[in-house]
Amino acid sequence: MIGGSVAVASTCCLGAVVPPLAMLDWHAVFFMLFAAAACGCALAVVLADNVVRMAFYLVLSLGATAGLFFLAGAEFVGAMQLMIYVGGTLVLLVFGVMLTAQAPFVSIKTSAAEKAFAGLLGGALLTLLLVAALSVEPWRRPGSVGPTEPSATPLGMALVGVRVDEPPAHSPAVGRSGYLLPFEIISVHLLVVLVAAAYLARAKRRKTPRPVEMVASVEPPVSVAEHAAIGREAAVGAPARSGSVLVGGGS
C-alpha cells in the first residue's frame, strides 16, 4: 500500500514534468514503461500474499519510481530513492525472512470482507488523490522558464507547492498552486499506515499459550508448567529473543 501510494504520487507529480504522450518520443515511452512498472508492482504488493514476495515487488515498484526520477532529470532524488527506500525495503525484507524463517513461505490471508473494506477505503483515497493531482494546471505553458540544468530542487519545490516553471514573481498564488495538496494527502496516508503498522506490531498478551515450536519436534513437547516458566523467564529476563542474527556474542 505504501508502495502503491508512493508510486501513484510520483506518477502524478512527474506526469506534469515530462512531456505529454502526444509527442510520442522515447522519453514518453520510457515514462510509460517506468510508470506502468511502478503501478503494476505496487498493485502486486497489495495482491501478493507472501511477505518476501511483497517486499520484492515493493523493491521493483520503488526502483521504477527511481527510474521516473532519473527520467525527470532529478538524478539526486533518484539515487536517494534507491539508497533510502530500496535500502530500507532491504531491511524490511530481512525482517520478513527472519520472522518467517521457520515456516519458509508464510502467507498472509485476508478475508473477503477485509478485502472489500480495504478496497473501498483505498479506492476512495486514490480517487481523492487523483482528483487533487489532476486538478493542478499542467506545467510548461508556452513561454515558461524551464530549469537550465536538471536538478532536484524543482521537484522538491513542486512537492511543497511552488510553481518552479514560472518566474516566482509572476506566480499569482505562490505556495498554493502546486502539488502541495496531493503531497499532503499522501503524507497523511503514510501516517495512517505507520500507526496501523505500529498497532499490528505492538507487544500484546496472548489469550492462548503459544504453540510448541517446530524445532521442538526432536524433544518432548513442552508442558504447560514449563511453558509458563519459559514465558516468565522471557518476560523478566531478556525482553525478546529477536534479531539474533546480528548479535555477535561469541567472544
Binding site: 539526486f76 532491504l90 519458509p104 522558464v145 540544468e149 536538478s151 524543482p154 514573481a169 542474527v245 555477535g248
Partner: protein, 406 residues
Amino acid sequence: MVEYLIDRVGLPGWLAWTAAASLAAVLILNVIAGGALVFIWAERKIAARIQDRLGPTRTGGKFGWLQSLADGIKLLAKEDLMPDGADGMLFRLAPYVSFCASFCAFIALPFAFDFVGLRLNVAVFFVVAVLGLEVFGVILAGYASASKWSLFGSMREAAQVVSYEVPLGMCVVVPVMLAGSMDMVTIAEKQAGWFWNWYLFHDPFTFVIFWVYVTCAVASVNRAPFDLAEAESELVAGFHTEYSGLRWSFFFMAEYGSMFLVSAMAAVLFLGGWNGPVPLATLAGLSEGTGDTAGYLVRLLGMVNLLGKATLGVLVMMWIRWTLPRLRIDQVMTTCLKYCTPIAAVMFAGAMLWQLFLPGGLVPGMRRPAGEIREGWLEGPGGRGAASAATGSGDLVLAPAAQVRP
C-alpha cells in the same frame, strides 16, 4: 564524441549517435562480461601461483587462457536444478537481480574523459546506491533456496552490506568534498597532473581514508576475508548452495563486476581516475579536452590507465583472498562499527578541516584548485535575478542558486 564523428569522420547524424552509443555499451558490456571471464582466469592463475601450483595450463594453449570459456560452456550445459521447496519465481530471478545491480552501476562510471555511459551529476552517489542493491539478489537467493545454509548466508550478507555502507559512504564523501562535485568525471579531472595531485596524496586524512575505503570496498563486495555470505567452510557455499549452471555463474559475474566497480571507483576517487602518475599527454602538449583525433587518443590512453588501475585493485583483492583467513561475523561487524566507521568519521572531519585551513596543501608548489559547489537550476538568464528579487517580498522564496566558492 558525436560531434567529432559528424564533423571529422563525416558520418551522418544517426550513424554517429549509434556509433557513440554502441561504443559506450560495448565498453560496459565488455568490462562486465569479458572482464568476468578474464578475472576468473586470472583468479585461477593467481591463486595457483600463490599456492605453488600451475593452474590451468592446457585449455586454449600454454596459459590456459580459454579456461573461463570452457567453464562457461560447462556451466551452460549443466542441469539447472531447483530445490523442491524453493520459491520458484524468486529463486529464478535472484541471480539476475544481483547481476543487474552490478551492471547498472557501470552506467555512471567514467572510463576516461567523456567516455561514460551516462554522465550524472550525482554519479558517486548513484554508484554507491546501485551497488547496495546487489545484496538484494543474494538475500532473495538465500531465502528462496529453502535451505538453511543459504538463509544463513543471505542474512550475513544483509547484515554486513548494510553496515558497511555507512563507512563506505563516509569514505566516498571525502573526495566528493575535495572536488566539490559528485560527478565522477569532475572528480577525476580535478586530480589531473602529476601523481601527487591524486586525492590519495591530498593530505594525511585522505591517505588514511583510502585504506578504510579499501577495507569497506572488499567487505561490501563480499571478498575474503569478509566473504561470510559464502563461507565455504561454515555454510557449504552460503547463499548459492542450491544454485547450479548458468544461474550460479550470474552470481559470479555480479561478484567480479562489483569487484571491478569498486576498484574503478577507488581509482577515480583516490588514484587520479584516468590520469596517469605522470601527465604524459600534457607534457607532450596534448589535451584530452579537445575534440580532435589527438584528443581521442589521449582519452584512449586515459581509459587504459583507468582499466589498469581497476585491474590492479582486483588483483590485490585476489591476493588478499588467497592469503588471509576469514573473519567471524561478530568480528566483521566489530571491524565495521568499532574501527572503520569512527576512523572514517574522524578522517572525514580532518579532511574537512584541512580543506578549510590548508586548501593549498603544505608545500606552496602543490596548490590545487579549490572545490566548487554549484547548484545551478536557476542559473539561466534572469533566473538568479528573479530569485534575489523575490527575496525581499516576504513570499516563500526559492533557495537562491548562489555559487559558493570557499
